[in-house]
């Protein structure tokens, strides 16, 4: 098991290095940030001066070495568009909002998806089940931004119940509802389907049937045994979908003017703010890689061949 864990961690490091290489290459190739920074009235000499002032006239390989050194020492460079604050500081200031959003989305999807899945599993092929499954498929098919737009249309424009832009410290928890729902919407369907299928499998397993025959109430059987089986696949699903969640967060944050990491990323990419983009992608990728490692290790631990081998 230890060997496996070490191997997986090693793979993780290699993956992270590849990611940073990709990002560095893509950014440098896509254009010079100074050009994108200054207003149209800036003269050619202004541009040259700015480039010199920001140290962007060094050769590429030198910049790459500095960049790598920076990651190892924990300095992620200085932002170009955020008042020359350290890129790490800019990233940290936006991270909480995205974490709040993604957590809320996941919580919403679990709170809604799991009971729906249980309901569907306990009444297989009934009307509820078919309705639920259809609803789930529809939910998974709706584009994230469409859900967001429809929610705004309904709850802000027509009903006026919920605020639609700003983030938690401005709006409080009420402002979290719509973005979380639009982000978590498609996950509800996924969770529901996974829970339903694993529970159906579990419920038809011989020992469950036996336990029921012994007279243990169905509810206990349901929640204690069958649901436990669903926990791992749900977690795996979450881990696998985490990258998609981050992508979805970008669009959701744009629609709801949510002050998070996703919006920061998009704006920094458009502005070619190298340091900030590199920092955000690094940490987002790190989260994804770590999650994947955790999932792999969990499965490995569950598999006695690997655990004991």
């Amino acid at each position: 098991m230890r060997r496996y864990a070490v191997q997986r961690l090693g793979y993780g490091v290699v993956t992270m290095w590849l990611v940073t290489l990709c990002v560095f290459a893509l950014l440098r190739v896509s254009g010079d940030p100074i050009k994108y920074m200054l207003p149209p009235e800036a003269s050619f000499s202004d541009i040259e001066r700015m480039r010199r002032v920001h140290g962007l006239d060094k050769p590429l390989w030198q910049q790459y070495l500095l960049f790598n050194k920076g990651i190892v020492t924990g300095e992620f460079g200085v932002s170009l568009r955020w008042d020359h604050r350290p890129a790490f500081e800019v990233f940290l200031s936006r991270l909480p909002a995205t974490l709040q959003l993604t957590t809320a989305a996941v919580v919403f999807s679990v709170l809604l998806g799991v009971p729906l899945g249980v309901l569907a599993a306990t009444r297989p092929n009934s009307l509820w089940d078919r309705l639920g499954r259809t609803g789930a498929v529809i939910g998974q098919s709706m584009p994230v931004f469409w859900v967001g737009l429809l929610l705004i249309l309904l709850f802000t424009v027509w009903l006026g119940w919920l605020p639609s832009a700003g983030g938690i410290d401005r709006l409080g928890l009420a402002g979290l509802i719509m973005p979380a729902v639009s982000l978590g919407f498609y996950l509800v369907a996924a969770h529901m389907r996974i829970v339903r299928s694993t529970m159906l499998d579990a419920l038809s397993a011989p020992y469950i049937v036996m336990v029921q025959a012994k007279g243990i109430p169905r509810r206990v059987v349901l929640w204690k045994h069958a649901l436990k089986n669903a926990a791992i696949p749900v977690f795996t699903l979450f881990a696998v979908n985490f990258a998609q969640l981050i992508s979805g967060a970008v669009i959701t944050e744009s629609i709801f003017a949510w002050p998070g990491m996703g919006r920061l990323l998009v704006e920094s990419v458009f502005a070619r703010d190298y340091a900030v983009v590199q920092t955000v992608v690094f940490f987002a990728a790190a989260m994804i890689v770590i999650l994947n490692i955790v999932v792999d290790l969990t499965y490995a631990w569950l598999d006695p061949r690997i655990r004991l081998g």
Partner: protein, 302 residues
């Protein structure tokens, strides 16, 4: 797919019976193949395909030229069944041409991603060793890259166009194929018939071409159908952010993006294109699910 090698190789069909010949037999075979099919979804997919191929014939008017005086008509009019947009363009025509764009992009993106993913999976699974390790690390790395970051960068380099959208989606979706197919390939290479072939001196390339690849087609079909929906949504997302199909071409995503400021006066502009996207994606999801169940009867229906 479980089973021994002999089931997988079964490529020699049994001799035809008399009752299996003829139109009736053909119809019977088709009906058998379509057993349990989600009819609505297949109809929707067929409709999308028809729109894609015959858009100029089907659309009642031009998707690009509109009469400004007719702008923002609600659906239900005699001239414009689904209403008009802010330029007076017929929404139904734009929807049909938009289907053409979505289907084309979806199919081509699936093709690109599928080809790339299959190549990686086959190379990984057949050669194993460090080739496998390197390719899998690359797969992980790509999985960790934010879709939008790559999209913005590619678009800013190459400009927004249909080809670049296909490229972006293809480049960022191949990992799913790679992972799933790699598992299949690994399983295939463990089987007796493959080992026998290797012992008999078959080259890796021969192996990949004759034995591995044909057995992946089923899974590829399933994955491809499911990924069609993903590609459609990805394209809509890119167009929504202004990184996709240039105007005035009627991509459904662009139509959604444009509709935002007309919420208050023209509800059909955001609702109808979004509905179209949802229906197409739903159709692809349900069909993919059905295909998966058909090709792997041991798995319970989800």
């Amino acid at each position: 797919m479980k089973g021994t090698g002999s089931e997988v190789i079964a490529s020699v069909p049994p001799p035809l019976q008399a009752s299996e010949v003829g139109l009736a037999a053909m119809v019977a075979r088709v009906r058998n193949a379509l057993r349990g099919a989600p009819t609505c979804s297949l109809v929707i997919l067929a409709l999308a395909l028809i729109c894609a191929m015959g858009a100029p014939l089907l659309a009642p008017s031009s998707p690009v030229v509109g009469e400004l005086a007719d702008a923002l008509q609600p659906p239900g009019g005699a001239q414009h069944l689904l209403g008009t947009d802010n330029q007076g363009r017929d929404l139904l025509s734009r929807l049909i041409y938009g289907a053409r764009i979505s289907v084309t992009i979806g199919l081509l993106a699936v093709f690109v991603a599928g080809a790339l993913g299959t190549a990686v999976a086959v190379l990984s699974g057949v050669y194993k060793g460090w080739v496998d390790v390197v390719l899998m690390r690359c797969t992980d790395a790509f999985l960790a890259l934010p879709f939008l970051m790559v999209a913005v960068t590619v678009v800013s380099l190459l400009g927004p166009s249909m080809l670049n959208v296909i490229l972006i989606i293809g480049l960022l979706r191949w990992m799913g194929y790679a992972r799933v197919l790699r598992g299949e390939v690994l399983r295939l290479t463990e089987m007796d018939f493959v080992r026998l072939a290797l012992v008999a001196g078959a080259s890796h390339w021969h192996l990949m071409r004759r034995h591995v690849f044909p057995n992946l087609i089923n899974t590829l079909l399933v994955l491809g159908t499911l990924e069609l929906g993903v590609a459609v949504i990805a394209e809509a997302g890119l167009s929504f952010l202004g990184l996709g199909i240039p105007r005035p071409l009627p991509s459904w995503g662009t139509m959604l993006a444009e509709s935002q400021q007309y919420f208050y006066i023209a509800w059909w502009l955001p609702v109808i294109p979004g509905l179209a996207i949802t229906l197409l994606v739903m159709a692809s999801n349900l069909t993919g699910d059905w295909l998966r169940d058909r090709t792997d009867p041991t798995r319970r229906q989800l």
